[in-house]
């Protein structure tokens, strides 16, 4: 509900002050958006971008409010150092891409971090009464939306190949330089790890990025598997040697009847094998049967067997 006093700021539970925002003074734009503002207070984010004292945190910024528009609208509370727009409250997304390669922004409602030059800007914004709406688009500084804006966008998307090429060259040069530096660094470290004349290796606490080749997940798994296999083979070998010893001991006593035994064993084994394949076959059939039965039950429940 609106606050009682007309000229007072409307502060809601949670400490936010509600400001109202109007698109223009045109009568057609009478409906207001409600911006919630508060001083920025999250300590972990108190980096240089958003100094605690001077930063105003704004919620519910409509999509047509660009950085420039916000700068203009909020400049009535004091001079502004910077305006930052994010999709979600939280740490600023590091976007090192610039110019042509910046990803397209989504046109959604956003949050803004407005940094004033003086802390007084934040205070005066928080004191602003809710009944006096801020105006987005005025006669001197009209904000373009709709067809107008899209044509501008289209026009902007036509870029000169030469300037694009220039940009690319610049980036690639920088990229190559960075790569070279990295390579240099690695080389130095490798040199450092070489033995000196007396056979000593200097062990230094290397930085994290300086590893020669990063381990990949897959390589890790491969080595684990390899070790596993190795262990198994070892066990098997142990078993064989034990078996071997055992049979040698036995051989001495049952040398004679082995021949007969083997024959019988083999026969037994064959018939067992045969039985086993049959058993397997039946099991498979059974499994399929049960699966099909289930499928039928589902279809029956859906009355899928009524042909007409």
């Amino acid at each position: 509900m609106a606050p009682s006093g007309d000229q007072q700021a409307w502060v809601i539970p949670g400490g936010f002050t509600v400001l109202s925002l109007r698109f223009s003074e045109d009568e057609a734009h009478a409906a207001l958006h409600q911006l919630c503002v508060k001083e920025h207070r999250i300590r972990s984010e108190s980096n240089t971008h958003r100094p605690l004292e001077r930063t105003l945190f704004v919620l519910n910024v409509p999509p047509y409010c660009t950085q420039d528009v916000l700068r203009h609208v909020f400049s009535r509370f004091g001079a502004i150092e910077s305006v930052e727009l994010c999709e979600k409250p939280g740490a600023s997304e590091s976007s090192d891409t610039s110019g042509y390669f910046r990803p397209a922004q989504t046109q959604c409602f956003r949050v803004a971090y407005i940094v004033f030059i003086n802390a007084s800007g934040v205070r005066s914004a928080k004191r602003h009464p809710h009944t006096l709406p801020l105006i987005v688009s005025c006669a001197e500084r009209p904000v373009r939306t709709g067809v107008h804006k899209w044509i501008q966008q289209y026009s902007k998307s036509l870029v000169k190949a030469s300037s694009l090429q220039q940009h690319i060259d610049q980036f690639m040069n920088e990229f190559d330089r960075r790569k070279e530096e990295e390579a240099e660094l690695q080389k130095q470290e490798a040199e450092q790890q070489q033995e000196d004349e007396e056979g000593w290796v200097k062990v230094a606490k290397g930085s994290r990025g300086a590893k020669t080749r990063p381990h990949s997940e897959r390589a890790n798994q491969r080595t684990l598997q390899k070790e596993d296999r190795k262990r198994k083979r070892k066990e098997l070998l142990n078993f064989y040697s034990w078996q071997h010893r055992n049979t040698q001991r036995e051989r001495e006593c049952v040398c004679v009847c082995v021949c007969v035994c083997v024959c019988v064993c083999l026969l037994n084994f064959y018939s067992w094998q045969h039985r086993n394949t049959q058993r397997e076959h039946i099991a498979e059939l059974r499994k399929k049967f049960e699966e099909d039965k289930q499928r039928i039950a589902v279809l029956r429940a859906q009355r899928k067997f009524r042909p007409f």
Partner: protein, 1134 residues
């Protein structure tokens, strides 16, 4: 001591197995209760490896050996259970039959009157059409000599849902005269007797409703249909036949060569010279003879069926099969009785064994039908016919299809046309093919899918106002046939008209079929309907697409004796023409430049032939659904549906591709050029059409290109056609994503420069793509590097370990650069094989778009849906015309069980049967995590990339409902000749369900002229007539669509509150639907404040959507595009 032990053991075993057999059932029930979804089945090892019982072994063996798999056996059993009569129903039938018999026994006698005198029958009409009025004879009523239940019911082959019990009432011999067979006297007496019975039954309490019909469309054999009163009304129909006493008339009198209707009596004109005998009347003869035999046929069939335990089930399956193909009713049908007789024939000739099961009987019957041509060589059931019985030769001459009954005198299929039999043969061989194919669900295709004519045949022509056939009979001089069919001019003329069409259409068609004239039903107190009151006759054609649309019909050389025949067939259309190879032949040339125009050639041929030879006016012949392709016509002026335009686009692309390959001086070479746009696989709804631009309409930005002007309407929309160019892999590629993007941009620039330098194409390079303006078309070339998706997936953990994680960006890239080109080339190939694919696809997508669904079901998914119709047409053949393809698309969308089945599109037939089972098992195992609409292809077995994000369950549900409704509306509209056909009905979306309608300014809608109902006014779009130049000129405005930009902004801003719907092909309305939960107040949170309004009460702050501001934002964001908002506030308030 041992024996009891053993028994105990056995019992234990049985108990155990019983328990176990119960267990899975319960499991199955559990799964069913889970919303009818299949779950992976887990069976314990113990259960699987337990000792089998003999019975179980036998069952498993049978399932394995006789059926493809056990599921088919179970399906058959379930089906038979579903169609068999329950005991309860049987009791009901029995008691009803008994009641009717009782009341029939008490028919009072009446006085003897003249045959013409109908005064003794007040309140009841005689079910007989009097063609020739005069008839001598006496008639009186008497109780029936005997009443017998005959037909399928006593035989046990009666199936639901149309339960018909035949009751044969024997007319006492005293009513009939031995000479009654001549001149329709007997059929008249029979009709009178039936009317007498009807009059008596009118007052019976046990009868619910009473009406007349006739047997298999034969008006000489009227029957009386009785239904029980009350709620059992629909459960059973009793059909009363009046039959003469057995052996009343000698069968030899009804030899097919004999005459039993005198010409002078029929025409009423006395002839001067008396011929010894008139023309043969085989159909009339078989009609009368057929009445004599029901009892003996029943005896014969009972004897046969007693020998073979599965006889009833086998016949039931055959009946279901026939019924799904609409072959079991009407004149010249193959009804249940014929099915039983066929089975009896197979048994008696040992083509099937007595111990075979129902499935084997059915399969053998189909096999027999598929490979035996009864039109060429008839079959007979008569073991040792008496000497007077006609020979097969006699039957063959008189009838087109021959199947002689056990008595040796009657042709059971006397009324069937050769075309119907060919249709049966075609269906049977098709069914066998599906059954032998392990990738097709044969059960579903053969027995569960109804093959309605309109969805089966490529073209269906409707012959209305059948009264015109009377004139045809005269023109074709068919007096004898007319006499034979007792004045039924439809049945008399039909075979002649059909063979005329067959001759005329020749190579253009694979199959000609016709609907069977249905049995009329009429109440007992009204006169029988006339022949002309019949519903229209449908003629279905299965096209041979290679020939069907050819404009030239080349005849024999002028000096060939056959030339006369050709000239006679085509009349004045036939001309002598000289061809390039020097030959001079008779030929008929039809008009038509585009495929769209050529589709009407068949209609032209048919109307021409019918008018010329059968005096049927043009207005009576109609192509069902021929107007469907109107909605995808390229423009009002040009009569083309885009096939030619698509072809041009592809030719231009091929040229570009060649030029790209030939480029020299690139740092890395090109390894592939692939199309990745629907226009390059013939499935773009409105393929791009090159236009000439009016430069004064635009602004210019330096040398870069044209820019739309604010005050002018939105310019002509130029579709960018996406082409993927893969560059070779090399060590030079950086391994960082951002750097790769820069390199790609550099490639775009250098490709553009080369193309401009060598071919003078206007190019425009951006970081993401290169636009090339060529032949009036815009190609959007995107350079790709095959390792890029992989690099996108890489990331480094803090420990320095390289891990691969799936992410959206990589998937999107993979979709664009790998899946899309693959799909495009595959579907391009499909179009080459099956020429109708593209147009069906475009029609289907036009419908999806018009119903606001195309943004939710991706174009590629829709393409695959249509591709499945072509690759897996069972039980049909691949569609060869747009209308049938479209109807089947709607049917597929509305009936497919997405919850339990993956739709598998076997492109290029790369998937084997084992693959299919794998896909199905994987699908069942992880159903919950898979998309609602799961489409698997050879390269995408587990993910269904095209439907991963959308549609949601709700959208799919809506699509299904809309498809079912559209199908219903369309089918009734198309088949009903009385209504003016407005097929656009199915393309107009229902708007009443939406909450807000945003009406757009028509000038700013780029594809306005393509709307379903194109507006009368069109706006200048910056183009004028004429061919654009192949290269040069300023770069036009490419891909500028304000409505799409507006939609994407709306969705970005308000996507979590509302859904936005739009028809991207010229729609002028955006429909908005609030999400159901959008209006619930939420507690205040910093993450949940977007477009919301605060409400504070005490210490609690809640938020609700700021509706007024949102609606105002709709206007602000769409400044210059939005005309007005229409609020539908019934369900919500501002």
């Amino acid at each position: 001591m041992e024996e009891p032990d053993n028994i105990k053991n056995d019992e234990g075993m049985e108990n155990k197995s019983a328990k176990q057999s119960k267990d899975p059932k319960r499991k199955a029930n559990d799964t069913v209760s889970d919303g009818g979804v299949l779950r992976p089945l887990k069976l314990s090892k113990k259960e699987l490896f337990k000792a089998p019982t003999v019975e179980e072994l036998n069952q498993l063996k049978e399932a394995e050996n006789l059926f493809h798999c056990s599921i088919l056996k179970m399906q058959m059993e379930e089906l038979l259970k579903e169609v068999a009569l329950s005991e309860h129903r049987k009791k009901l039938v029995d008691s009803f039959v008994q009641e009717v018999i009782d009341s029939l026994q008490s028919v009072p006698e009446s006085e003897v009157v003249e045959l013409d005198d109908l005064s003794w029958l007040p309140g009841v009409e005689v079910p007989f059409l009097l063609v020739s009025l005069a008839s001598k004879g006496k008639f009186h009523m008497e109780p029936p000599a005997s009443i017998d239940v005959v037909g399928s019911y006593p035989l046990g082959t009666c199936i639901k849902p149309r339960v018909i019990v035949d009751l044969a009432v024997t007319i006492p011999a005293s009513i009939l005269h031995p000479m009654d067979a001549i001149n329709q006297r007997y059929p008249r007496k029979r009709a009178l007797y039936l009317a007498g019975l009807a009059q008596h039954l009118c007052f019976s309490e046990s009868v619910g409703s009473l009406c007349y019909s006739c047997l298999h469309g034969n008006r000489l054999r009227p029957v009386l249909l009785l239904k029980p009163p009350g709620k059992d009304n629909s459960k059973v129909t009793l059909r009363i036949h009046a039959i003469p006493p057995p052996d009343f008339l000698k069968p030899s009198r009804f030899h097919p060569r004999k005459n039993n209707i005198k010409t002078e009596w029929f025409t009423g004109v006395a002839k001067k010279q008396q011929e010894s005998s008139g023309p043969a009347t085989p159909h009339y003869n078989s009609t009368v003879l057929g009445d004599h035999l029901p009892l003996s046929h029943l005896q014969f069939l009972s004897a046969i069926s007693a020998q073979c335990p599965a006889f009833g089930d086998g016949v039931a399956l055959l009946k279901v099969w026939m019924r799904q193909r609409e072959l079991d009713q009407g004149a010249g049908c193959f009804c249940g009785f014929h099915a039983s007789m066929l089975m009896a024939y197979l048994l008696s000739t040992h083509k099937v064994g007595k111990t075979m099961n129902a499935y084997q009987l059915f399969r053998n019957a189909l096999h027999f039908l598929a490979f035996t041509d009864l039109t060429e060589s008839g079959i007979t059931l008569a073991r040792n016919p008496d000497s007077k019985a006609p020979s097969l030769q006699d039957f063959q001459e008189a009838f087109s299809v021959v199947f002689v009954d056990p008595s040796g005198h009657l042709n059971l299929l006397a009324d069937m046309t050769a075309f119907t039999y060919k249709q049966i043969q075609h269906e049977a061989s098709l069914s066998l093919k599906f059954w032998d194919d392990p990738t097709v669900d044969g059960f579903q295709a053969l027995l569960m899918t109804s093959k309605a004519m309109i969805r089966t045949y490529d073209n269906v022509f409707q012959l209305s106002e059948l009264v015109n056939l009377q004139a045809s009979c005269k023109k074709l001089s068919l007096l004898n046939e007319l006499m034979d069919h007792s004045g039924n001019y439809v049945l008399s003329a039909l075979p002649f008209i059909l063979s005329l069409l067959q001759r005329g259409l020749g190579e253009r068609i694979n199959l000609l079929a016709h609907s069977l004239p249905q049995d009329p039903e009429w109440p007992v107190d009204s006169a029988p309907p006339k022949h002309k009151d019949q519903p229209p006759l449908n003629i279905g054609l299965m096209l041979n697409l290679e020939q069907a649309l050819s404009v030239l019909e080349r005849g024999p050389p002028a000096d060939n004796p056959k030339a006369d025949e050709f000239r006679q067939l085509w009349g004045s259309r036939s001309e002598l023409r000289r061809f390039q190879d020097g030959s001079i032949t008779e030929a008929v040339l039809w008009s038509g430049n585009s495929t769209c125009q050529r589709r009407s050639i068949l209609l032209e041929i048919i109307t021409h032939l019918l008018q010329l030879h059968a005096d049927i006016p043009e207005s009576c012949v109609r192509l069902v659904g021929g107007q469907l392709d109107d909605v995808i016509k390229v423009s009002k002026e040009m009569c083309t549906t885009g096939e030619e335009e698509s072809l041009k686009v592809i030719q231009s692309y091929d040229d570009l591709s060649r030029k790209l390959w030939q480029l020299e001086g690139l740092p890395l070479s090109i390894t592939s050029v692939q199309g990745a746009h629907q226009a390059l696989r013939y499935t773009q709804v409105f393929p791009p059409v090159p236009v000439k631009l009016l430069y004064s309409f635009f602004d210019r930005k330096n040398q870069l290109g044209l820019v739309p002007r604010k005050e002018k309407p939105c310019p002509y929309y130029i579709t960018p056609i996406k082409v993927i160019v893969h560059m070779e892999g090399s060590g030079k590629w950086p391994s960082e994503h951002l750097a790769i993007r820069h390199i790609k941009a550099a490639f775009h620039i250098s490709l553009g420069e080369l193309l401009y330098k060598l071919h003078n194409y206007k190019c425009h390079a951006t970081p993401a793509y290169l636009d090339v303006y060529k032949d009036g078309l815009a190609f959007r070339i995107q350079v790709a590097y095959h390792r890029e998706p992989q690099i996108l997936r890489e990331s480094l953990t803090p420990e320095g370990m390289l891990i691969y994680r799936e992410n959206a960006e990589a998937q999107a890239l993979e979709l664009e650069t790998q899946h899309k080109p693959f799909l495009t080339s595959n579907l391009h190939g499909l179009q080459q094989q099956l020429g109708c694919f593209g147009v069906v696809c475009r029609l289907a997508k036009r419908w999806l778009a018009s119903q606001f669904l195309l943004e939710y079901i991706r174009e590629e998914a829709a393409d695959l849906l249509v591709a499945s119709l072509f690759l897996h047409p069972a039980p049909f053949t691949p569609p060869s015309s747009p209308q049938v393809g479209f109807l089947r698309f709607l049917h597929l969308l509305s009936t497919f069980d997405w919850k339990n089945n993956p739709l598998i599109v076997n492109l290029n037939g790369k998937l084997t049967a084992a693959d299919l089972t794998d896909i199905k098992n994987d699908f069942v195992a992880s159903r919950e995590s898979l998309p609602t609409m799961f489409i698997a292809t050879p390269t995408d077995k587990k993910v269904s990339v095209w439907t991963k994000k959308a549609p949601s369950v709700q959208m799919l549900q809506r699509a299904i409902i809309l498809a079912a409704e559209s199908l219903r509306v369309l089918e009734t509209h198309l088949i009903d000749s009385s209504q003016k056909q407005d097929i656009r009905v199915a393309f107009r979306p229902p708007l009443e369900d939406y909450d807000v309608l945003i009406h757009l300014v028509p000038q700013q809608v780029p594809l306005l002229a393509k709307a379903v109902d194109p507006p009368a006014i069109t706006f200048q779009k910056g183009t004028f007539r004429g061919e654009p130049s192949a290269s040069g000129g300023a770069l036009p405005v490419i891909d500028y669509d304000p409505v799409r930009l507006y939609l994407s902004e709306l969705r970005d801003a308000f996507g979590d509150l509302a859904l936005f719907f739009y028809d991207q092909f010229g729609g002028t309305v955006i429909a908005v639907l609030w999400k159901p939960t959008a209006f619930e107040p939420q507690p205040f949170k910093t993450s949940l404040m977007n477009a919301r309004r605060l409400e504070v009460s005490g210490d609690v702050a809640t938020t609700v959507p700021n509706i007024e501001a949102i609606l105002q934002d709709f206007r602000i964001i769409g400044e210059g595009l939005v005309k007005k908002l229409e609020l539908r506030t019934e369900k919500w308030a501002v």
